[in-house]
């Protein structure tokens, strides 16, 4: 059953990533260079929609709170984020969109995957040094959410209700998605009004 769900949800995720343009390095590059923020608006709306549905569903008992999976916060999360961001901008791929781009017929994505496997292997070998450095030790409570979610096995960073904050944050993401302009700065080339 679980394998069937993996196939259905995975295929849907891959197809949607392709349709929103996330498998195309040109859209990723223009989003990160802030000259075409359509993809950013898509992603913000998606995160917001997911939040509202998930926390709303948890509040009415439709969604099992035990399905939540919160990762630990540690300094390495930020350092790793910096590295991923740099490589993401340079190549136009991240792990998920890279494998989807390769499947869509992009040969450069195959090189991205090869580099990615080598990079993951390099981390597997150097992991003990990171572990010893203390940069993998929990900060801000480790596996925490902004507020404590009733029934979840994770602590809240604040004493506020995790469900309510989740819905409010979700709505905030949706509002930002709508307010965000199609492009910021640049201005070398005027965008024709639609």
């Amino acid at each position: 059953m679980e394998i069937l769900l993996a196939i259905v949800i995975g295929a849907a995720f891959g197809a949607v990533l392709d349709r929103i343009g996330a498998t195309n390095p040109t859209y990723i590059g223009r989003m990160l260079a802030l000259t075409n923020l359509n993809l950013m608006k898509t992603i913000l709306l998606a995160i917001g929609t997911g939040s509202v549905l998930m926390f709303g569903g948890q509040m009415i008992g439709l969604v099992d709170v035990g399905h939540m999976s919160v990762k630990a916060a540690y300094v390495g999360v930020f350092i790793g984020g910096l590295m991923l961001g740099a490589g993401w901008a340079a190549s136009g791929f991240c792990p998920g969109t890279g494998v989807c781009a390769a499947a869509s017929g992009r040969k450069d994505a195959l090189f991205f995957i090869a580099g990615g496997l080598l990079g993951a292997a390099a981390y597997m070998i150097t992991y003990p040094a990171w572990k010893a450095s203390g940069l993998l030790d929990d900060v801000m409570g480790g596996k925490t959410t902004l507020g404590a979610v009733p029934g979840a096995k994770f602590d809240g960073l604040t004493a506020m209700s995790g469900d309510i904050i989740g819905i409010l944050m979700g709505l905030a993401f949706i509002v930002v998605a709508f307010v965000l302009p199609e492009r910021i700065g640049g201005g070398g080339v005027a965008v024709p009004a639609e």
Partner: protein
């Protein structure tokens, strides 16, 4: 050619919701480690071994957290690994349904061609190096754009915001520098 952001955003959010409703939040980058483990275990069968309690590995990273990665390496037909293979199938089908990828895009995307020209070697080299840095960083961070940024922020995970802050702090300056012509 791409979906309107309002439609695309609701569809993508719907997939995130479906994942957490039925199974668990989406994540991808761990599977690069699992594939490495599968390849490594073929080359050296001592890499992952069965124990009384489950699985372990001579590699400290595969052995961490009670050997959960070692277990996935030993059982590749697990949810998360199949999920990534299905993503590829979904993206392939979607591309075919919209008429396939333009031949000019197959080796070099437009944004790269506009600034750096037609050298495939140059593009492939940067894609390879980019992949190395992206996956090294993702494993250091414990997740990638899917697991940390999308699934994490959707759940109001503190780690998700921390990751997104790092990712954009590097990605925007690098993109502005590399693709100045696009701005």
């Amino acid at each position: 050619m791409t979906l309107d952001w309002k439609i695309g955003g609701v569809l993508l959010g719907g997939v995130f919701f479906l994942a957490v409703l039925l199974v668990k939040p989406i994540g991808v980058s761990t599977q690069f480690v699992i594939l490495n483990g599968i390849i490594g275990d073929v080359v050296n069968s001592e890499l992952v071994t069965k124990t009384d309690e489950g699985y372990t590995s001579t590699n400290a990273y595969l052995a961490k957290s009670g050997g959960k990665y070692a277990k996935s390496v030993a059982n590749p037909l697990n949810y998360s690994f199949i999920f990534v293979l299905a993503m590829m199938a979904g993206a392939f089908a979607s591309t075919q349904l919209r008429g396939g990828l333009e031949s000019s895009e197959r080796s070099i995307p437009e944004i790269w061609r506009n600034t750096y020209g037609n050298s495939q070697a140059k593009r492939y080299a940067v894609a390879f190096l980019g992949g190395f840095v992206v996956l090294y960083g993702a494993r250091l961070a414990g997740g990638c754009t899917s697991g940390h940024m999308m699934s994490g922020m959707m759940q109001t995970a503190v780690s998700g915001y921390l990751f997104a802050a790092g990712a954009f702090a590097a990605a925007v300056p690098v993109a502005l520098m590399m693709y100045r012509k696009e701005s």
